[in-house]
Amino acid sequence: MKAIDIIPLFVIIPLAAAFLTSLAGRFIRRSSEVIIFIASLALLGFSVYARFLLNSAPGRILVYKIGGWVPPFGICMVIDGLSVFMLVTVNLIAFFVAVYSLSYMNQYTDKPKFFTLFSLMVCGMNGVIVTGDLFNLFVFLEIASIASYALVAFGTEAEELEASFKYAIMGSVASAFIFIGIAFLYSFTSTLNMADMARILAYKQNVWVIPFVGVLFLMGFGLKSALVPFHAWLPDAHPSAPAPISAMLSGILIKTLGVYSLIRIFFNIIGSTHGYLTILMFLGVASMLVAVVLALSQWDLKRLLAYHSISQIGYVVLGIGLGTPLGVLGGLFHLFNHSVFKSLLFLNSGSVDYAAGTRDLKETGGLGKLMPVTAKTNLIASMAIAGIPPFNGFFSKAIIIIACLEKGFTGYAICAVIGSILTLASFMKVQKFVFLGEIKDKLKNIKEVPFAMLFSVVCLAIICVLGGLMLLPSLRFFLDDAVAVILRGTSYAGVVLEAASK
């Protein structure tokens, strides 16, 4: 096998794992857990390996032609700086979530089915990231979305089914918008390959297609990434899922299906204009402020975290919407950081639920003495999300705010600071009501959660503490390559087509 043959493995491994778990899990006890552990570890290893493979590739891009068909006739898979950045983020979180769910999912029946859906979701996300074909992107997006609809309803309680139904309706509406957008682009350019599409759009005159398609994609991917005012489904769907899945949904799914696809299409295919960037920045600031205000009044721990996901996605979109090198760097860095600390927070909320049997802030209290590891990791994640130095959230938020000031958007910078202060306020509430204070009588006998769950949260907490080191000059290439791809804009077409012709 050549080194480039690892690219399709990002789709093959989770797909094979999904169907092996459902097949073997029925006959051999605990086989599904072994399969999922090996598969997610392999995916993490391969994505890190792909990062180093990219360093030696000419033009920092790798193109894999499926079935040997040359683009634009066949489907190709593209790994560039942005894809590999997302791959590492997704597979890192997926690995820790998989390890966590080995213990956590003992509360539920039918673990093999859970792992089947989990791997399908990972397969969909990896597929969206590596594909270089617009319709292929839609197919993988649907795989990931449909697996997540089923996973939200995994507990099959009335509340969970309702949330899943709502999520499925909103998700299908979003998919329909995206699908119509792709159909218009296909009828206009007669190609589905993203690089070829960008090449044709660059010279073909058009009056109404691009703005129309832009609005469709903005609605579709806006719904997928839950930007205000498209956010209504998220605070229901994310808390209803089992905690590891909440961590996946908030940590990486909305970023991969929403933010990554939005970036890829707007910056690399259609080409970012002043108008789109203004809209993105406005949506970002609106999400940031509206969601954090709504989060303040929540008493359900996971619901509070879900509102914060919307708010933090606002920071990411604001940073990327600025369109300057510093802004995009801050946005992407915040995307990575948010994946880490938000999945850590959701996993901690799962630990609290696992041990105490409730996640209502009014019923918990004083758990810090009984669950020291959970309490400490939660404190780290809370400080990271609130942007307190030296945790990773501080650096990315600081970069975004500086980038706003640099470009003259003082108002947006002030909004980002206010959002951060309100985030701090609502996480102080979490600390006070869950981990500090008096222990309630009926919670006196709870114990710390099992080892597999502790392992995941501790590792994620370590990444939170050390995350800021990614800005060191020797490690900057991870972020800088991703930023370079976004800033390259529509010249993406030439780079991909040239790499594919070799």
Partner: protein, 146 residues
């Protein structure tokens, strides 16, 4: 079991079903096998295969159909269909590329031609046929707890 089933619809429906259900199944298999030379293919044929079992269930009640394909067998076969498709795709690595058609192509419009395409159609046919039947079964076998 078909002959002395008390559940299901009237005698007329049962008699007609007995005559047609085999033909529907056969037609589904025909569509799957000829997917690469005529319109249709794994998905369309799989749907027709699933419909033949759904037809059986509608006419004779769920017990008759479940006796032919149980819920466990349906979900096992579904995973096997998906794995088959993935293995066919992986066989492309023998020739150097994922999804490469490694078998001999033959001459156009022969039944035995087009390399791995008919095999992929069979895998898709199994996956879609059993998958759709399993969805229908899930709607039927789940009942309100008494």
């Amino acid at each position: 079991m078909i002959n002395n089933s008390k559940t299901g619809m009237t005698l007329i429906v049962k008699t007609i079903t007995r005559l047609t259900v085999g033909l529907i199944l056969l037609f589904g298999i025909y569509i799957i096998l000829h997917g690469h030379v005529s319109p249709g293919g794994g998905f369309a044929g799989g749907v027709i295969v699933a419909l033949s079992f759904v037809h059986l269930m509608l006419a004779f009640g769920k017990d008759v159909a479940v006796a032919k394909v149980s819920k466990n067998m349906a979900s096992n076969l579904e995973s096997i269909g998906a794995m088959m498709f993935l293995l066919i795709a992986l066989s492309g690595f023998l020739g150097g590329s994922f999804f490469l058609n490694v078998l001999a192509k033959g001459s156009p419009f022969d039944l035995l031609s087009a390399g791995t395409i008919p095999l992929s159609n069979i895998a898709i046919g199994i996956k879609v046929g059993v998958g759709l039947f399993a969805i229908f079964l899930a709607l039927v076998v789940l009942e309100r707890a008494k």
